[in-house]
């Protein structure tokens, strides 16, 4: 029947046109290290190195965090009967954990990449740490301490997206992010509650607030900087800081829970 054939034909053609219209844009290339620049590495005299210390506070009542339902994974359920997500972790005095703090602007030149690998572990079907930062080109090692399989799936916007399975207590995944990108979500599609954030920065001046909401960025050259704090739920804040040689300044970021 010509009618039915023409209907299916038009629908197929529509799908094809839509695919072509929306296609492209995927970076299918191999992961490459950050392109080497011929710029001299900046060294900071330890005697002149400045420091930014500070705390991140959450004003108001923190949102109530539900417990994670791990019933889909018997191997992990026993480890956390009522695990809360690490999205909003607040100390009794209102200090906020897991806030990424970095020098957003004001730095010039290229800085040496740390030889020490950054570590991200999967333990009890939870990422540890929840928020992590690395330098561009710094080795990131992802381990699986669980007796079950995970898949590691970062969702970057400017780096290349990838998805790798990691069997129970399998060998580490090693990866170097080539481009600066803040708060790349990392998830496991097998266990949908698993989520962490990795920030990739072109320099070593960053920190993540601890359980008491404190952070420290040290080894900075003197200068005027914009410091940014980024929280996955509460967004970002910026602050201008001017540092002299060997100076230490204490700053505080404050988020509103409402």
């Amino acid at each position: 029947m010509r009618f039915s054939r023409s209907v299916s034909g038009w629908m197929m053609a529509g799908l094809l046109v839509f695919s072509l219209a929306c296609g492209g844009g995927e970076d299918a290339g191999e992961v490459a290290d950050a392109p080497e620049m011929e710029e001299a590495v900046v060294t900071v005299d330890p005697a002149k190195a400045a420091t930014i210390t500070g705390k991140v506070k959450l004003e108001g009542d923190p949102p109530r965090m539900p417990t994670i339902n791990m019933s889909a994974e018997p191997d992990c359920r026993g480890l956390h009967e009522a695990a809360p997500p690490a999205e909003v972790v607040v100390a009794p005095d209102g200090m906020l954990q897991n806030v990424f703090v970095w020098v957003k602007s004001g730095l010039e030149g290229k800085f040496a990449v740390s030889d020490t690998p950054a570590m991200l572990d999967q333990k009890g079907c939870i990422y540890s740490p929840h928020v992590l930062a690395v330098q561009t080109g710094q080795m990131l090692k992802i381990s699986n301490s669980d007796p079950t399989t995970h898949n590691v799936h970062p969702l970057p916007k400017t780096n290349r997206e990838w998805n790798r399975s990691q069997p129970a207590e399998g060998s580490d995944i090693e990866y170097k992010f080539p481009r600066q990108e803040i708060m790349i979500a990392v998830k496991c599609n097998i266990h949908p509650w698993m989520r962490s954030y990795i920030s990739v920065v072109n320099h070593p001046f960053f920190a993540v607030s601890g359980a008491d909401g404190s952070f420290e960025i040290k080894g900075l050259p003197a200068g005027s900087y914009t410091v940014e704090a980024v929280h996955e739920r509460f967004g970002s804040q910026e602050m201008s800081v001017t540092l002299g040689d060997a100076e230490s300044k204490d700053i505080e970021f404050s988020y509103n829970a409402s």
Partner: protein, 316 residues
């Protein structure tokens, strides 16, 4: 065997077994659409990073998201197997060329659908591929439903009994029905694009209004000109009912997505509503296509244009 039975069998261009098998395939395909929607709603699309095998095996450990993704693959393989049988059986058992072509179309669609499913996994859910996968699923389901419809004895007998003059109104009811199907398919495409983060909600809302307007137009036309035809009227009424329900489900899906946007994992109320919205979308398209075929079945034979099924003698 009586001579009357022999005559009826001779005029039935398919077989009852083929009809039942086509209906079973359509049912399995609907289950497959539900399973696919579950994969998306449970955010399990990439829980199995490889394809066509799952973790290099035919049967991985069914934990967490793997249960949904590999379960979807297993049902898809089953439906693919059914479709091969359906295409071959239709080719062997049905006398009408266009129905045989429809059987092969179903097979081509299910193969393309499997490839799109694999590509979307291997390329990490690119929007265009995921949307195409979602839309082809709806199209394939409609094909299987039509195969179930046109292989039924009722369809063949109705065609001879209910032939009517081509309706004079412009646009005619058959044209209106075809247009409604295109609008519905476009809306499914917009919905899939929204679900896979390719487009915003506004386009889907406009599409919803367009579909609602079209199905109401069809119902109004049927009520005005063909109210005596209980077959067509009940299909048009059912289509409007489903679209109304779909509007409610759509609003519910949007609302629950909003209120659970900070949830640490997909919550079952959200999963149930969004999967229901996808499944009902498939049913609406299929019902619209069924109505279109029913309408053309009544009026198509009055023209020389197209809808005459080969192998079925026209009785006027």
């Amino acid at each position: 065997m009586s001579s009357a039975t022999t005559q009826a069998d001779r005029e039935y261009p398919a077989t009852r077994g083929l009809h039942l098998f086509a209906v079973f395939t359509a049912g399995a395909t609907f289950l497959l659409i539900v399973a696919g929607a579950l994969v998306t709603s449970r955010d399990a699309g990439l829980s199995v990073p490889d394809w066509p095998l799952s973790y290099g095996r035919l049967m991985p450990e069914m934990i967490g998201g793997v249960f949904y993704e590999h379960g979807h693959r297993m049902i898809a393989a089953f439906v693919g197997f059914l479709t091969i049988i359906l295409a071959v059986w239709t080719w062997r058992a049905d006398q009408r060329r266009w129905v045989r072509h429809l059987g092969w179309s179903a097979l081509a669609a299910v193969i393309a659908q499997g490839l799109l499913g694999g590509l979307t996994v291997l390329f990490l859910l690119p929007t265009a591929v995921s949307v195409s996968h979602a839309c082809l699923a709806q199209l394939f389901f409609s094909i299987t439903v039509v195969l179930g419809l046109v292989t039924s004895r009722t369809w063949c007998e109705q065609g001879r009994r209910l032939a009517a003059p081509w309706p004079p109104s412009r646009p005619s009811l058959p044209v209106l029905c075809v247009t409604t199907n295109f609008v519905t398919f476009g809306q499914l495409l917009l919905g899939a694009a929204l679900r896979h983060k390719g487009l915003g909600i506004i386009f889907h809302l406009i599409g919803a209004a367009a579909v609602a307007a079209m199905v109401f137009w069809v119902l109004a036309r049927v009520a005005r000109e063909h109210s005596g035809d209980a077959g067509i009227f009940s299909w048009a009424l059912a289509l409007n009912g489903l679209v109304m329900l779909q509007l409610l489900l759509g609003a519910g899906a949007y609302w629950i997505r909003e209120v659970t946007r900070h949830a640490v994992q997909p919550l079952w109320p959200m999963v149930v509503i969004t999967v229901g919205h996808v499944a009902l979308g498939a049913l609406i398209l299929a019902l619209g296509v069924v109505l279109t075929f029913q309408v053309h079945h009544r009026f198509g034979r009055q023209t020389s244009s197209s809808f005459e099924p080969e192998g079925v003698p026209a009785t006027t």
